[in-house]
């Protein structure tokens, strides 16, 4: 992995007009009775991607995954895998494997038999089967546990068996439904990196469902943020975080301060927003699609804010004044909750580069919060 990363070419097939999508989800809708679980969705996923579906509970992530696996039929629209329409292909004939949220290990079979199950269905000869099972056990570091039954394993071990079982057939695509949900934080972080390593080794396209945004940020090549059966935004983790396309996405991923305002100056390379809510003018060094005078929102991440007791050099732009209302100490960061004159609360996160006693800001201090022209994002919806 390290040698590869030394000369790594950026992996961005979605920016390459010549690249062919591996999975195409075209106008897919899924309804249960009157309820629309997936609403006219269009999505392209490329080979070898580590693609995350992120969204609040009930937004249709599992439903989408189950349609990819073949357990649910789209009500309308179609799903193509490697150029083949999958609509009428039953789950047992799809070159797709799924790792279930509950792991779904076969309780009456040993770890080895569980992993061998898929190969057995394909009639893989015994020697090759044993060899591949052995390979998988090595990959997930469970060689000593092959003869155990699932109930004799810990949660983390079971999860690795489930992963091995779904990888052993070398599917074209692996679907993972909240694979790490049952693990504690430390094990989860460790496993995230293991998953990324494995994905790099086997080169299979991963589609992973999660509602842990940190997990999605860590592992993904791209993230689709979903909302009520629709896709709110598809982009790389950095883009999603730095340039969310809507208030929904901005607020879903991480913490953010949002000010409402009116566009008072529009140019191709910058805009100015007059915000009564913030009590300041906001200068953003990127253009926008909205017209002069339109109502827009400015989003600034807490860690992009500078907190100081003295006014910055240019107090007319990108600077708000308020009173420190609460301070949260997180070890690496200190979170300042500041109340503006009109009562709006703003959060700033400051890295603790110095020790506590060297930082003079305390409760009820008057502070200035300021940010750079490239730190804020203009949101039109």
């Amino acid at each position: 992995m390290n040698t590869a990363s030394a000369a790594r070419v950026p992996f961005e097939p979605w920016n390459d007009p010549k690249a062919k999508p591996y999975i195409r989800i075209v106008n897919v809708t899924k309804t249960f009775g009157d309820f629309v679980a997936v609403d006219n969705m269009n999505l392209d996923i490329y080979q070898r991607e580590f693609f995350s579906l992120l969204g609040p509970s009930g937004c249709g992530k599992t439903t989408l995954l189950r349609m990819l696996a073949g357990f649910e039929r789209p009500t309308s629209g179609r799903i193509e895998l490697d150029g083949v329409d999958m609509s009428t292909v039953p789950p047992y004939e799809r070159p797709v494997n799924m790792m279930f949220q509950s792991y779904a290990l076969f309780p009456h079979m040993t770890v080895e038999e569980n992993i061998a199950f898929g190969l057995r269905q394909d009639g893989v000869p015994k020697e090759e089967r044993n060899r591949r099972v052995e390979e998988m056990l090595t990959l997930v570091q469970l060689t000593k546990f092959g003869k155990r039954k699932p109930h004799q394993l810990s949660g983390g071990q079971r999860q690795r068996v489930a992963l091995a079982r779904s990888l052993v057939k070398k599917p074209k695509m692996l679907l993972l439904d909240e694979p790490l949900g049952a693990l504690d934080k430390k094990l989860r972080e460790q496993t995230q990196f293991e998953l990324m390593n494995i994905q790099e080794q086997v080169g299979i396209t991963f589609v992973i469902v999660t509602h842990d945004q940190e997990e999605a940020m860590t592992v993904s090549s791209r993230i689709a943020v979903m909302n009520h059966g629709r896709i709110a935004q598809v982009a790389t983790p950095t883009e999603i975080y730095e340039y969310p396309n809507s208030r929904y996405v901005a607020e879903f991923i991480g913490d953010v301060n949002v000010f409402e305002g009116r566009l008072s100056d529009v140019a191709p390379d910058h805009v100015v927003i007059t915000s009564a809510e913030a009590g300041t003018q906001v200068y953003v060094d990127r253009g926008t699609s909205a017209a002069l005078g339109a109502t827009v929102w400015v989003a600034v991440r807490p860690e992009k804010l500078d907190v100081s007791l003295t006014a910055p050099e240019q107090p007319d732009f990108n600077c708000v004044k308020g009173t420190v209302w609460d301070i949260g100490y997180l070890g690496n960061l200190t979170i300042y909750h500041v109340r503006l004159a009109d009562g709006k609360k703003v959060t700033a996160a400051v890295a603790n580069r110095t020790r506590l006693r060297d930082r003079p800001i305390t409760w009820n201090d008057e502070v200035y919060l300021s940010w750079a022209a490239d730190s804020a994002v203009v949101l039109v919806s």
């Binding site: 073949g70 047992y92 199950f117 039954k149 779904s166």
Partner: protein, 274 residues
């Protein structure tokens, strides 16, 4: 929590157990009676056991009983599993309520009525009564029990393991045999055992549907007792009690061992992970 036995508890317990077990103990006791009179103790002897094994008639009846119970419970497990599966899996089809009601009905139907209606059926289609009709009759009431056991097992069944099997390439048909059936096998075994015991001691339905020469053991005992209790019958009953007791105790020991083993393995696995 750790309250000992108070006097009242002790008395209640003694009476309760006495009520349940004194008749059985008396029966066992008198099966070792030297005397032919059932209520007069004439010294210890096992001669009635010896005589029992000379009694071709009873041995024949015992053989019929076992054959019948084995056949009927096997058939019941097959049919009951299918019915239980349908009830657990197809939760909304037209007439489901009627269907499930009809499956449960034999559980509460008076045996006389079941027996009589089966008799009428066999007579009307002119089917000579014998082992065949008895197997059908016993299956018809045992399969309801199996259906109930299987249904309740399937309700708590994790469907995702079936989906996992299909995801890995097994057809739904194959999935049923290699995943579903093995996992619910304990329910099938207990359904089979339940049917076996129900069939083994059934008198009413058997009397309606058996033909001449096909008397089962309970029917035989029942008619013999009408002419007065013989010590041989006591001996026979004692053997039956012993068989049932050994069966029940073995089953519960096996089950308990499996559970303890499983818990131990789970604890070890949890510890190994930390």
């Amino acid at each position: 929590m750790t309250k000992g036995l108070t006097k009242i508890n002790l008395v209640a317990l003694t009476f309760g157990f006495a009520f349940l077990y004194v008749p059985i103990l008396i029966l066992v006791f008198f099966s070792f009676n030297e005397s032919r009179l059932v209520n007069v103790w004439g010294g210890f002897s096992v001669k009635w056991y010896g005589e029992l094994f000379q009694n071709e008639d009873l041995l024949q009846a015992a053989w019929i009983s076992l054959l019948l119970a084995a056949a009927a419970s096997t058939l019941s497990v097959i049919l009951g599993t299918v019915a239980g599966f349908v009830m657990a899996r197809f939760t909304s089809f037209r007439g489901r309520t009627l269907f499930s009601g009809m499956i449960y009905a034999p559980l509460v139907m008076p045996e006389v009525i079941t027996g009589l209606s089966l008799l009428l059926l066999f007579v009307s289609i002119d089917w000579g009564r014998g082992l065949g009709t008895m197997i059908i009759a016993h299956t018809s009431f045992c399969m309801s029990y199996v259906a109930v056991v299987v249904q309740s097992r399937l309700v708590s069944f994790d469907r995702s393991i079936e989906e996992a099997a299909q995801d890995l390439g097994a057809t739904p048909f194959k999935t049923f045999f290699v995943i579903t059936l093995p996992v619910i096998a304990p329910a099938l075994v207990s359904g089979w055992l339940l049917s076996f015991t129900l069939s083994l001691d059934n008198v009413v339905i058997t009397s309606f549907t058996s033909g001449p020469g096909w008397d089962t053991l309970p029917v035989k005992i029942f008619s013999a007792v009408k002419l007065g209790v013989k010590p041989e019958i006591n001996a026979l009953s004692t053997i039956m009690i012993a068989i049932v007791a050994i069966g029940v105790v073995t089953a519960s020991i096996v089950q308990k061992r499996a559970m303890v083993e499983r818990q131990r393995a789970e604890r070890m696995a949890a510890a190994a992970n930390d």
